[in-house]
């Protein structure tokens, strides 16, 4: 019966109040969600006979306008709007996190330049920081601080990604834990990417890390690099 409903929901013939009610159940029932996914996959080939139609350019213009401000610019990170974006959303986070910094940076290194990434969740709450000294990066380690006591879902892993630029794909810096402070050695082949990074992201992956060498699961936290 559940599968029959999942099928009619995916087909579109489950309607009106029944459809609404079904959608409410779906939100809290991953098994049912899976059945719907399966049906959507089964029925998708029915749309293959539909000839594509190029939408008018105004559609993309409207989409683009609506996602502005919720986007990270690609590549042109030194561009002015980026800093405006940064100051609007992340400056408060930086101040909040600098409290940790006082404790975390050895005092005799106060003159050194550091790169700091404040990584936030979807609500722009700072959840994690990554930092490293700018000079002598070859010997440097990434210092990671997970803010608060966080838990990882069982049978998953947290994978850290460096975002090197507009054309480059996210590159894996490896798996991290939920420990409050940890250090990660930068793989030598990624030194250049870390040097040129404009941001970092952390995604939830299957145990052992992404099987595809790129993020496959939801991105929990991400944030831009800032020199301090």
């Amino acid at each position: 019966m559940r599968d029959a409903l999942a099928a009619e929901y995916a087909l579109g013939t489950l309607q009106g109040r029944a459809r609404r009610r079904f959608e409410r159940v779906l939100k809290e029932d991953p098994a049912l969600r899976w059945q719907v996914d399966q049906w959507q996959e089964r029925l998708l080939p029915l749309s293959e006979g539909i000839t594509p139609v190029t939408p008018p350019a105004r559609v993309w213009r409207s989409i683009d306008a609506r996602i502005q401000g919720r986007a990270r610019p690609s590549g042109i990170w030194q561009h002015l709007p980026f800093w405006r974006w940064l100051s609007a959303t992340a400056a408060t986070a930086l101040v909040a996190v600098s409290v940790y910094w006082g404790l975390w940076l050895p005092t005799h290194n106060a003159n050194k330049e550091y790169m700091v990434v404040v990584m936030s969740d979807q609500q722009l709450r700072p959840m994690m920081t990554v930092s490293w000294p700018m000079e002598d990066i070859g010997k440097a380690k990434l210092r990671i601080r997970v803010i608060g006591h966080q838990e990882m879902s069982p049978d998953t892993a947290w994978e850290l990604w460096v975002l090197g630029g507009a054309e480059r794909k996210p590159l894996s810096l490896g798996l991290i834990t939920t420990h409050e402070t940890q250090e990660v050695t930068i793989p030598s082949e990624l030194l250049a990417a870390v040097n040129a990074a404009w941001g970092m992201a952390m995604s939830v992956e299957p145990k052992g890390g992404s099987p595809l060498g790129k993020p496959t699961g939801p991105v929990l936290y991400s944030g831009p690099c800032t020199k301090i």
Binding site: G16, Q38, R42, T54, W60, I63, G217, P218
Partner: protein
């Protein structure tokens, strides 16, 4: 055929809030998804609106998308179809003034049925094979519901059969499709 690996990559980068990747995702999938919305809504202005809403939603939820669950195109098509169906069934909106008979005929005109025009992908071939096991009525009602978004009532009206009969066609047809696809190793 859209390259699944490329779409995975673009989805992942969109989840990381890379606008350029998202623009590319739109460029690759927009025309197909626009056509999907157009078939259901049959009005260009509505289809534009639904496409816009869908892509804003895709952007907002890209980081919740998990490739382990379904392919990017399956996920995006479901978003567009759901929004189109919701739009169609908003109270006080009549789905255009065209007669559905035209649609029934257009499906008939498309050859021996939807199986013929299914793509060359493996999943498409498997579905096409399995659709052949269905009765004409089962096959036609499922295709009309999926492609044109017809409800049970609309199907009943235009296939000139009682509501109960149409519901049974759909239910039995879907059961049979599932049985066939699940026993066919080339699928999913």
């Amino acid at each position: 055929m859209l390259d699944n690996n490329l779409l995975h990559d673009l989805m992942a980068r969109s989840a990381l809030r890379e606008q350029r990747a998202f623009a590319e995702l739109y460029r690759y999938t927009g025309p197909k998804l626009f056509a999907v919305a157009l078939r259901i809504l049959r009005r260009e202005d509505w289809a534009e609106e639904v496409l816009q809403e869908s892509f804003v939603s895709i952007w907002n939820h890209a980081n919740g998308y998990s490739s382990s669950k379904s392919a990017p195109m399956t996920w995006m098509t479901a978003i567009v179809r759901n929004r189109a169906l919701d739009w169609l069934r908003r109270p006080n909106i009549e789905a255009g003034d065209e007669n559905y008979d035209v649609l029934v005929e257009s499906v008939a005109d498309e050859g021996d049925g939807p199986d013929v025009q299914l793509g060359k992908a493996q999943a498409g071939r498997a579905l096409a094979e399995c659709l052949k096991l269905l009765s004409n009525n089962q096959r036609q009602s499922i295709a009309l519901a999926y492609v044109h978004g017809l409800s049970h009532g609309e199907l009943s009206e235009h296939m000139k059969e009682p509501l109960g009969t149409v519901k049974t066609w759909i239910r039995r047809g879907l059961e049979r499709l599932k049985g066939c696809l699940d026993s066919n190793p080339s699928v999913g």
